[in-house]
Amino acid sequence: MDSSNDDALDIIITNVVATFRTRCHLNLRTIALEGINVIYKPELGKVLMKLRKPKITASIWSSGKIICTGATSEDEAKLGARRLARCLQKLGFKVRFSAFKVVNVLAVCSMPFAVHLIDFTKNNRPIASYEPELHPAAMYRIKHLKATVQVFSTGSVTVTGPNVQNVATAVEQIYPLLFECQKPLCKS
């Protein structure tokens, strides 16, 4: 399902970003003084709390909005978020775990072949863009999936999308396009 070939492509999710709300105001100073593994950033108005078990870093705002980053799967993100809410609850805040939403998923995938970026960009003119002087990868945006794929000449591909399913679909979609422009084959 990951690839249209016989060999399965390994899509490795490297980062899942999720947000949720505690539905109550949070006193950042209290969290910074009494919380464990916290970094207070008063100039930015937030507290970073790092969790060990699901390796997660959370940005906590006084409004009760929390952004959770560093998880490696959607479930892990949710578990980490709940642990985090539990930590805040223990600090004494009337926390309610609400509006949990995975906002962004970043995954990497490695093609078994190198890609000729110039040909790839030529074939997919409006959707793909490649500016070697700015960035070494060609960017391919899949609008209906709201996913962005960055293709490197080595065949490595990074995909960012709103959820894991979209990311997997994006890889499936782009595989045939990349296959056409393999380096050893369509080298012009």
Partner: protein, 392 residues
């Protein structure tokens, strides 16, 4: 934080002055303890007191207002125009009891009053209806009028001001200006905030009104307000169109719950998430000193909007609540495991020092410390400079 402290400091000064005055006369009222909680908003209270009590103890009025403080804060941010309206009624009341003291403050308040007069006229119709329903229960003493309306208005800040005013009217049917005053107060539930403007002036006026035993008045007012609260509640769900009233009713519920442990049947306590929701507004009140008025308002608006939605249409409310419920149950530890590993780090090795620079990259930390003492391995050390690295 500093700004907040400064604000608190400024307010505290004013409050301290007022408190001294109150405490000297506090002997009668027992509500002092309850009011001390709302020290932050005492400035608002003080302002309101003079407006309401043209000739009463400032202390007494202050106490009454304290209860309403949380509500006052939020409303103040919302509307300032209506606030001016209640001031009108204050000067009018003052005229009857003590023209002397009133004259001075009235001049200042009149300026504010002029603007709201047209607005108040529009609201006259509303108070007219509730009038008939409101229970009389109170004497028609002229001194009571300003006292009672002041107390009631102060307490029922956001909640059905028209209803409260109506009650006031019933107490004093004879005076002509009363209905006008009531309408003004009704339209400006949030007007209580305006009282802040005339705080100093009103103080003198409040001192003048002291004809009654404050305890009796308080009791009467509380009883009336309870009745009104009930009516407000019944009216609030009925009037889906008028969300403002519903909101006011909800705010009124807040006040009442604080005043007299009345179980809220609607508003925040409308749905199954009762406990948590009720806890939220209380929590907000505790953080008043820290939270901005806008923040509180935002939170309350969020609660109010959810409440109004639930009251307006049960189906929609149920759906929203259902979603919230699905997300909510944190199950206090059942599903969420706490982190026991950090406990391993509670050793006796302690360093107390100042820092020059603390740097972190991912999970690698670098410390540049200075002027410190430390207890390491049971031995004490002192250093003027220390450099360290650690991995988290």
């Amino acid at each position: 934080m500093r700004e907040l402290f400064l604000d608190e400091g400024l307010e505290d000064r004013v409050l301290d002055d007022l408190r001294h005055l109150w405490e000297s006369k506090m002997m009668q009222s027992k509500a002092m303890e309850d009011f001390r909680k709302n020290n932050i908003n005492s400035s608002n209270f003080v302002l309101q007191l003079p407006a309401n009590y043209s000739q009463t103890d400032q202390e007494v009025t202050g106490q009454l207002y304290k209860v309403n403080v949380p509500v006052v804060v939020t409303q103040a941010a919302a509307g300032q125009q209506p606030v001016s309206q209640p001031t009108q009624k204050v000067p009018e009341w003052k005229e009857t009891p003590a023209p002397q003291s009133v004259a001075v403050p009235q001049n200042t308040t009149h300026q504010q009053e002029v603007e709201p007069s047209p607005v108040s006229a529009a609201s006259v119709t509303q108070p007219a209806h509730p009038k008939a329903n409101l229970p009389p229960g109170q004497e028609n003493n002229p001194p009571q009028k300003p006292h009672v309306p002041a107390v009631e208005t102060s307490q029922l800040q956001g909640a059905h001001s028209p209803e409260t005013e109506v009650a006031l009217e019933e107490n004093e049917p004879s005076p002509h200006p009363e209905p006008v005053n009531l309408s003004m107060t009704a339209s400006a539930s949030s007007q209580l905030l305006d009282f802040q403007i005339c705080t100093e002036e009103t103080f003198t006026q409040a001192a003048q009104l002291k004809t009654r035993d404050i305890d009796d008045i308080l009791k009467e007012v509380i009883e009336e307000e309870r009745v009104k609260a009930e009516r407000a509640r019944s009216l609030a769900p009925a009037k889906t169109d008028n969300q403002a009233e519903g909101v006011l009713g909800l705010d009124l519920d807040y006040n009442y719950s604080e005043l007299s442990d009345i179980v809220q049947l609607d508003g925040p306590a409308d749905n199954s998430d009762i406990e948590e929701e009720e806890g939220v507004p209380l929590e907000e009140n505790d953080f008043l000193g820290i939270i901005n008025a806008e923040a509180i308002k935002a939170l309350q608006e969020g609660d109010e909007s959810s409440n109004s939605i639930s009251s307006s249409s049960d189906s929609e409310g149920v759906d929203e609540l259902a979603n919230v419920e699905e997300e909510d149950p944190l199950n206090s530890g059942d599903d969420v495991i706490e982190q026991d590993i950090p406990d391993l780090f509670d050793t006796d090795n302690v360093i107390v020092c100042q820092y020059d620079k603390i740097h972190r990259s991912k999970n690698r930390w670098k410390f540049h410390l200075k002027d410190g003492v430390m207890c390491y391995g049971g031995r004490d050390y002192v250093f003027s400079k220390a450099v360290g690295e650690a991995e988290w």
